[in-house]
Amino acid sequence: MATRAPDRPTAVPRHRSERFSRQLAYRLDVKASPYAYVMPFLLVFCAFGLFPLVYTAWVSLHDWTLLSDVHKFVGLDNFAFLLGDEYFWNATFNTVSIGLVSTVPQLLLAIWLAHLLNRPLRAQTLFRVTLLLPNVTSVVAVVVIFSQLFGRDYGLINWVLSWFGVGAIDWNAGTASSHVAISTMIMWRWTGYNALIFLAAMQAVPRDLYEAATIDGASGFTQLRKITIPMIKPTIVFVVVTSTIGAMQVVAEPLLFGTYSPTGGPDRQYQTLSLFIYENFAKLDFGYASAISWMMFVFIVIAAGINYLLTRRSGGNLT
């Protein structure tokens, strides 16, 4: 029998030194392996995640273009210019507006859909798969499809609206109409996904709570309000925060909607912050684009923080 667990029972070491080196190898293996295993992740993350984020701050303090090798240090000039740039505030307004119009109805709808699916239904799988189908479709595809649907002259949506006497809407042209169109694309792509996440949380709610409520005569809606929503509050907070972060980064939809242009429409009526970054990136003005990135990061942290506090608070009131 072996005296030590890690050694093979058959391989009894012949020499003391061999035994020692085996122990050493075993120790080294146990101590070093974990670090070796997480190393690929850490390397990739530091090189392509953390470093770029920090380096953005450094670039933002310079007059930095790709055309010149000299990058003049300008301090906070880029930020000072940014705060006085009306295009920046326009992009901020558009981002918040599209964010609200797309996220608020989307999450309410998602909770309701999850509530409907959280029952014994026929064809559960079919419903779930179709709910996620829009999310499998790429952003580019979504925008191309919806640009056709929202077309002024031959779009399906204006055609349907014309039954109700609505004249042809030029969805691209107006601020409000373009925001509605872009929000529709975002909603179409993400509602089902979020509904499934809510559904997953709802399935973890103990069934006897609903039984007791049903016996007490509580309606489905009351059960949703008084049991489900308070019970899945952590998931709601999670989804609200991730949706906020996502909404702050909307870029492909406004870029591809209508005429492909980084200004987001001729009057910048739907240029988001990310698109504003891309516009300056395309102009090779990296210093300024980096300054916008950092301001956007600050906005994201603030928006996510506010939403985190709000959802936690309102959830508390419901219980």
């Binding site: 093979r8 293996d29 146990v30 101590k31 974990p34 295993y37 997480v38 690929p40 992740f41 850490l42 990739v44 993350f45 392509f48 995640g49 770029p52 984020l53 380096y55 670039v59 859909l113 409907l116 014994p120 239904l121 079919l126 779930r128 798969v129 179709t130 709910l131 996620l132 189908l133 829009p134 499998v136 479709t137 790429s138 580019v140 595809a141 925008v143 191309v144 499809i145 649907l149 399906l156 055609w159 179409w188 089902g192 996440i197 997953a200 069934r207 039984e211 049903t214 998931t235 702050m248 591809l256 209508g258 492909y260 990310s274 990136f281 990296f286 980096s290 990135s293 990061f297 996510a304």
Partner: protein
């Protein structure tokens, strides 16, 4: 017992609502097939065409003539495929370490991992581009593959799965039998991790296939991925919706087929990851 669905009326209403949702989820995709199979001039008809026509093959040929679509498909398969395989492997490796091995700094590193899931990487896109310029990877698929070899979500996903599904006794038994840590990973962890890793691989493949902004920034229209080619198509031919939507249909079809076959597992994975997140 499962909760009652309520009266017959409520049941009907539930089904009607869900069928409406199915309808609106599928309609845009259906309509893109309709447009893709028509001549562009047919779109000016009132009422608009509502069922597929016979022009699909001609449109497909035109797509391949207009943009390097075959190359784009090849690139996308290569990029999404290698990213998916790498993410599966490295995430399982790191997940094993986080879930089952003891080492100094484990909790701190795990916390960082979770926190980075929230950080919008899009903000670092300018330095990332500068890195690619330095490495001379702009315009090449390396620029897409290397930064995506492993990500925080994958590591977290596998950590969660392995800490639940991998019995510690199994690892101890392996140690008694003289397995090195690598041996444990290879012979014990990998077989257990396979189902979760497969789901992770599919999710990763889909998101890599659909990724648009970074490829747009770093690639050229001459050597595109499918999404970049699609946007070139849409940008150059704003009025030719038949052509754009044919490209869209071609680029979406592979994923929709995969999803139709494996949707149940993919959804299971998303819902599992969600509860833990």
């Amino acid at each position: 017992m499962i909760p009652r669905l309520g009266s017959g009326k409520a049941r009907t209403l539930t089904y009607l609502t869900l069928i409406a949702v199915v309808f609106f989820s599928a309609l845009p995709l259906y309509y893109s097939v309709v447009v893709a199979s028509r001549d562009n001039s047919a779109l000016a008809d009132v009422p608009p065409p509502l069922w597929p026509g016979g022009n699909f093959v001609a449109n497909v040929e035109k797509v391949f003539d207009t943009v390097p679509f075959a190359l784009a498909l090849l690139n996308s398969v290569l990029v999404a495929g290698s990213i998916a395989i790498a993410v599966m492997f490295f995430s399982t490796l790191a997940g094993f370490a986080f879930a089952k091995l003891r080492f100094r700094g484990r909790n701190a590193l795990l916390l960082i991992t979770v926190a980075t899931m929230m950080v919008p990487t899009q903000l670092g896109i300018i330095p990332l581009y500068l890195i690619m310029v330095k490495l001379e990877w702009t315009g090449s698929m390396y620029a897409l593959i290397v930064p995506a070899l492993v990500n925080a979500f994958g590591v977290f996903f596998m950590t969660q799965f392995l800490s639940r599904a991998l019995p510690t006794e199994l690892l101890e038994a392996g140690r008694v039998d003289g397995c090195t840590t690598w041996g444990l990973f290879w012979h014990v962890v990998l077989p257990v991790a396979r189902p979760a890793a497969a789901v992770l691989g599919m999710l990763t493949f889909m998101s890599a296939w659909n990724d648009y902004f970074w490829p747009l920034v770093v690639l050229t229209p001459e050597n595109p991925t499918v999404q970049v080619a699609l946007s070139t198509l849409a940008a150059g031919y704003v009025s030719d919706y038949a052509l754009s939507l044919t490209g869209t249909t071609l680029g979406t079809l592979p994923l929709v087929i995969v999803f139709a076959l494996l949707g149940k597992q993919i959804i299971g994975g998303i819902m599992q990851g969600a509860v833990k997140g």
